[in-house]
């Protein structure tokens, strides 16, 4: 059940090598952690996990690798307002693009992928309209809903 492509090469090796980057132990560890994660990890979260498997890795390498991954479009970098960036594999285990519900009470973040059918279509149309009107080439979008989760809305 290993997620490999081709001849036992992890899926990302290709894109990585193609851009002139070397495959290193540290980078493998980091991508492994991201692939297994089911939450939005911060650089330090990743550092702590990585350090367990590979005690020599430095936090600097985490930052540098995350930067490359974000530029390659393999991960998303988010700001949920808690003062540190959080990262998530573009195509996670769930594999699908998703949006976020963010609780301003407890900072919980809920992923949601169950878009209404029309939502996807409308997004396409909106992007098309904006692209033409502003002569802007849309590559990606960020959609987040802020509010109170079930627990937090009770407290108030």
């Amino acid at each position: 059940m290993r997620a490999k492509h081709g001849l036992g090469q992890p899926w990302w090796h290709g894109k990585f090598r193609g851009c002139g980057y070397r495959i290193t132990l540290g980078r493998e560890v980091i991508l492994d952690i991201l692939a297994k994660a089911d939450t939005h990890l911060s650089a330090e979260d990743i550092y702590i996990k990585a350090h367990a498997q590979y005690p020599n890795i430095g936090l600097t390498t985490i930052y540098r690798t995350l930067d490359i991954l974000a530029n390659l479009g393999l991960i998303y970098k988010f700001d949920f307002g808690d003062g540190r960036a959080r990262y998530e594999l573009t195509k996670g285990p769930k594999g699908t693009h998703h949006h976020h519900l963010i609780c301003t009470g407890c900072n919980r973040v809920i992923d949601y992928t169950d878009f209404i059918d029309e939502e996807v279509e409308l997004l396409r149309q909106t992007e098309k309209g904006l692209a033409k009107k502003y002569n802007f080439k849309i590559i990606n979008h960020l959609i987040q809903f802020y509010g109170l989760c079930n627990k937090c809305s009770v407290k108030r």
Copy 2:
């Protein structure tokens, strides 16, 4: 043509006092700057402008005031990825809620309010669906499209 409410009181004095906050010269200056701004200002941008009218004001006061304003919902705080927070009056001169087009090439941010008719309606429906499904009380949303502006897409 002054934007006043009641007996010559700026519109925000009410809400401000109602929450136990005092009206100070520094705060007036800051809100004035935000009200006149047609771009997304950083704390330091505001500090520089404020300093011109009120040389004694400290950067600390800017941060503290912005924090209050954001909590009161009078301003939005954004992260456009350039390492500093940027702020915008919730109800600007334009008065309307808007979304952003962000150029990843030059960091230009375009406001857009010209929603497709269906966009507003769909957003309402989506929010309703999410609210029920996740038992989440939606208060606000953030929608940003990333891509390349006309100038930057030519260069590539």
